[in-house]
Assembly symmetry: C2
Homo-oligomer: 297 residues x 2
């Protein structure tokens, strides 16, 4: 199961209710943090999540509100005897920014980490999932990310029961997509298993409306998308290269996603009803995220 928690849903300025951006995706022992604004380590503490769980950090861009929580988080991970290697992904320039960040204070605990500068398409792949990115259109070099769970095979129990195939290595082979022989007869994995489609989560923050945002989120089960402004403030959104609720919904619509969660709201909005309404006119299955909101897929 994929679990998502919103750790911060404001943009440049935090509010009483909303911290700077951060979204944690948990899946089969992987804990992927998308962006890490100031205060994210405290949000994790409040949510009861241990920073030492984090395996990957995916940075969309280097505006302060998306990154200023990194050094404190890494320091706290160091104090928790983090034994893994943290993999940090971000657009061109990330290595230099991280280097300067680590020279900006006296660190009391360090962790092993590796920085990967990413451009487009697959940036990580294992047996279970793929991470992809595509460049977006913002005031500085920015990428969006997709987490793509791979399809899995589930044994068609009634089928194998009928044939009398016992539990054990033969079923394991079928589950791995390999055909087997049983009582002199070839059994095809495609017949003996059912394909369970993997889920896809896309993360499109800080951008203007652009084809890559649509391409990245194509057929996603869940799109997390910025919607800094209401439709009435489209001029402001354009000036700062951000999205309105309506534009985020347009991306969701064009990308044929199943569900849309909006985030990264300007601090001027005491409530986000208008942004949600603007979005609903275009794409009905939409919610405005709040800090600590959880989604399961």
């Amino acid at each position: 199961m994929i679990e998502i928690i919103f750790l911060g849903t404001s943009c440049m300025q935090p509010t009483k209710e909303r911290n700077h951006p951060g979204v944690l995706l948990t899946y089969e022992g992987e804990n992927i943090l998308f962006d890490c604004g100031e205060g994210i380590q405290r949000q994790m503490k409040i949510a009861g999540i241990k920073p030492a769980k984090i395996t990957k950090l995916l940075i969309t861009h280097w505006h302060g509100d998306h990154v200023l929580g990194i050094p404190g988080l890494m320091q706290t991970m160091g104090a928790s005897e983090y034994e893994k290697k943290l993999h940090i992904y971000g657009p061109e320039g990330t290595k230099e920014y991280i280097k300067n960040m680590m020279k900006a204070f006296v660190s009391e605990g360090t962790i092993d980490f590796e920085v990967h500068e990413v451009k487009e398409r697959i940036i990580f792949e294992n047996d279970m999932f793929i991470l992809e990115c595509l460049p977006l259109q913002h005031a500085t070099k920015t990428v969006g990310y997709s987490f793509i769970e791979k399809d899995k095979r589930r044994i068609n129990t009634s089928y194998v029961k009928k044939l009398g195939i016992p539990d054990g290595p033969l079923l394991g082979k079928l589950q791995n997509g390999k055909d087997i022989e049983w009582k002199g007869k070839k059994i095809s994995a495609d017949d003996a298993t059912i394909i369970v489609k993997g889920k896809k989560v896309s993360y499109v923050l800080d951008t203007m409306i652009c084809n890559n945002a649509v391409e990245l989120a194509k057929d996603a089960d869940l799109l997390i998308c910025e919607a800094s402004y209401t439709k009435a403030m489209r001029d402001k959104a354009e000036e700062y290269k951000h999205l309105t609720g309506e534009e985020a919904a347009t991306i969701a619509n064009r990308a044929n996603v199943k569900e849309l969660y909006l985030t990264h709201f300007s601090q001027r909005y005491k409530n986000t009803d208008e942004i949600e309404e603007n979005a609903k006119d275009v794409f009905p299955n939409v919610k405005c995220a709040k800090d600590f909101m959880k989604v399961k897929l």
Copy 2:
């Protein structure tokens, strides 16, 4: 009147209830922030204090928990059209750390600021107050600070009434400590006014017990002092060059301060009763600070 608000009372790791360190002192249009841990700008937002009010930032040392809120705060001040110049004070190395900090992200708004590296004694003085510092003993270059309000003269109204001196420039002169002539007679400012002793607030964070801490806090009306550990954990305090509650109280005692507020508690303490009790055994007028606690002097 001097007003103080604790914006963060944890140390290296924040807790659900306590943010990283920061104390704001407000006095006659001056807003002096002592230390600026991660999340301080959000704490200000929660407390209803505008970041653009800040006039001076006094950094004790460059461990992450005391400084990682600076870049975000300055960015937010920039977005608020900050028209003053922010004066940043800190120990040797502060210029270099600030320079690296500003190269660690893409800033969206900048403010005018000036960095002052401080060593000891008076670092700022105007008609109303003095700021002093002294080096302390910690794992990195560290200073403590004192805010010292200057003594003021208040008109002795019954005295001047008896002589018939009218409201106006003559009273102004007396209040400024200048003698005057009235009806051919010399009136001494010392007779016509009452001296109101200025208040002193000292800020002693991250240090081992040392003479300079006592010297800095000498006769302070209020000492804000770190007490990271209980007496039972003195070994840990020594290892990390911090104070126990008892040691903080010993400083308060030796310095003859009036009131002691403890802060900078290790995240291991769910409540700080034991630290307060350890301190009370040595110095009775002591309180453990909490986030958003206010003190008026």
